[in-house]
């Protein structure tokens, strides 16, 4: 009886410590994206084993850039000083530069793995994914 009580206490505590809603939502989209890409791009076994680790790494870096920028936008006070505004603009410039460079670096890597044709198709599929998701959300 005492053991059951202890387990129930632990269960309650653990249930209270849940991941943030935003994090869970982003994970959901990431999962769906990867499934969508896998379904629409016919990777061979050899391509698949090399492609996904690289693509996931690119995706993690992109996500980190977006998150950082989004956070800074949220944190900008309504009565921001010139210095604060300048910092935010600088951050946006830096983020855009980093994102552009990631695109170039990882395009080169991914091209070696899946070839130019499939890489181009990947870009198309990524756009299709966005549209599909927007369509699905609209239907709800």
């Amino acid at each position: 009886m005492k053991a059951i009580k202890n387990i129930l206490i632990i269960l309650t505590v653990l249930l209270c410590i849940t991941p943030s809603k935003a994090k869970a939502q982003r994970d959901k989209i990431d999962e769906l994206r990867s499934t969508f890409i896998a379904k629409h791009l016919d990777f061979s076994s050899a391509e698949s084993e090399k492609f996904w680790p690289i693509y996931n790494e690119l995706h993690d870096k992109r996500k980190a850039i977006k998150k950082n920028l989004r956070q800074s936008l949220k944190n900008l006070p309504p009565a921001a000083t010139d210095k604060e505004a300048e910092e935010l603009i600088n951050l946006e410039n830096k983020s855009a530069a980093a994102d552009a460079e990631l695109t170039k670096t990882y395009n080169d890597k991914l091209k070696l793995v899946i070839g130019a044709k499939k890489l181009a198709k990947l870009k198309v599929v990524e756009e299709e994914f966005k549209l599909e998701v927007l369509k699905a959300a609209k239907e709800k």
Binding site: I7, I17, D27, I29, T35, A38, A64, L102
Partner: protein, 403 residues
């Protein structure tokens, strides 16, 4: 002259390209972003197992034997077991192989477990509480191609805390396994494992075969750990039908005169094993928290008592000459557990080698206990239509600067 200009131009071109690469790295690094270091989340799991008491089968002995005397002193046998285990990544190294397209990683994990088992003998006045605890270390190397290497070292201590009499043994379980992913649907594993779950300190060959993807329906034979048919229903619920051994080797105090003809022996070894067969249901309440419940039949249940101390005095006989051994008839069991995973991780979607890394880590649960948290971190594929999206979910698809 012309050749020299060509060389200089190539040099400058290469230098400029290199500069761009440096700047690219610099642009990203200058943001000083917080990134996940590991692929593994720190995982803590609680596991509770119980099996009802059973009477010992009556022996057809014409005269009074040691076994029948001990049978009478024990009365019956049942098990209550509680285990808390964990693993946590302490260092993860990720790197590209020479051709810069193969992405490898090495994971160093700290593991630990604390197991309390109460073998319930209804004729013994005081229930013995036996502990098994220890910290371990494992290294998992993902070659990024087809192979995953797994090295596990699990030292632990077993002790009987029924009275304050000092007792206990230090033991070491370990495994060395190579896992080869022929394809996402077919995997084989080979290796060696030293385990105590068969009730003794055996070095056993490890042989594993899996048909089917880890994120889909698969049939897995992992000898000597388990055989299971795994059926994921969705990302929240997974079923499996399994059979696996469970058991251990524990220090047991001789304060009930069980080893009555060697009263000078303060403690001896209690070993037990059983083959469990049943159905397991894993359920996820959210990304970080899941649970499982399994029930079924316990067969080939066996218990033994022997003393290492006594055996040492008899160099010509094997170390495990039992002074008592009994097998019990099949009965039911109930097992349930709670799993809590936390921490930020790198993405591993569709990365079949990483899925294999998770699976090999979970099949070989910490502490040589053979009941672990399951593969709930491996995502199950679902379509956009199945996903119950709402507008909040899709905000990440819109670029921040578009807002």
């Amino acid at each position: 002259m012309q050749a020299n200009i060509k060389v200089v131009l190539i040099f400058i071109g290469t230098f400029l390209l290199f500069q761009i690469e440096i700047k690219a790295q610099a642009a990203f690094d200058s943001l000083n972003l917080k990134k996940a270091k590991h692929y593994f989340k720190t995982t803590i799991f609680l596991d509770s197992y119980s099996k009802a008491n059973q009477k010992f089968p009556k022996q057809k002995a014409t005269k009074l034997s040691n076994d029948s005397i001990i049978d009478a002193r024990l009365g019956s046998f049942g098990v209550k077991q509680f285990n808390i285990g964990f693993y946590t990544p302490i260092y993860t190294r990720t790197y590209y192989n020479r051709d810069s397209t193969v992405y490898s990683n090495t994971h160093y994990l700290l593991t630990g477990n604390f197991l309390s088992i109460q073998p319930s003998f209804d004729s013994i006045r005081k229930v013995h509480t036996l502990l098994k605890y220890g910290l371990g270390f494992r290294i998992i190397q993902n070659s990024g191609k087809k192979g995953v290497w797994f090295i596990d070292i699990q030292p632990f201590t077993t002790t009987d805390i029924t009275t304050s009499t000092p007792n206990g043994y230090f033991r070491m379980a370990n495994s060395f396994i190579y896992s080869h992913n022929y394809s996402a649907k077919f995997n084989m594993r080979f290796g060696i494992t030293k385990s105590f779950m068969w009730g003794n300190r055996y070095y056993l060959p490890y042989l594993g075969v899996r048909w089917g993807k880890l994120d889909g329906v698969n049939f897995s034979i992992q000898i000597p750990k388990n055989i299971s048919l795994n059926i994921p229903i969705n990302d929240k619920i997974r079923f499996s039908i399994f059979t696996k051994p469970q058991g251990g080797m524990y220090s047991f105090l001789n304060n009930d005169s069980l080893y009555y003809f060697r009263p000078e022996v303060k403690s001896f070894n209690f070993t037990h094993y059983e083959i469990l067969g049943g159905i397991r249901l894993d359920f996820a309440l959210n990304k970080n928290f899941s649970g499982y419940i399994d029930a079924g039949s316990s067969t080939r249940s066996n218990i033994t008592f022997y003393s290492t101390e006594t055996s040492k005095r008899r160099p010509n006989v094997p170390y495990k000459v039992y002074f008592y051994e009994r097998s019990l008839s099949p009965t039911g069991f109930l097992n349930f557990g709670l799993v809590w995973r936390f921490g930020k991780t790198k993405s591993f979607f569709n990365d079949r080698n990483m899925y294999d890394v998770f699976d090999i880590n979970n099949v070989n649960s910490p502490g040589d206990v053979n009941s672990g948290p399951g593969n709930m971190e491996i995502p199950i594929k679902k379509s956009i239509k199945q996903s119950k999206l709402n507008l909040e979910d899709i905000q990440d698809l819109i670029d921040v600067t578009d807002q």
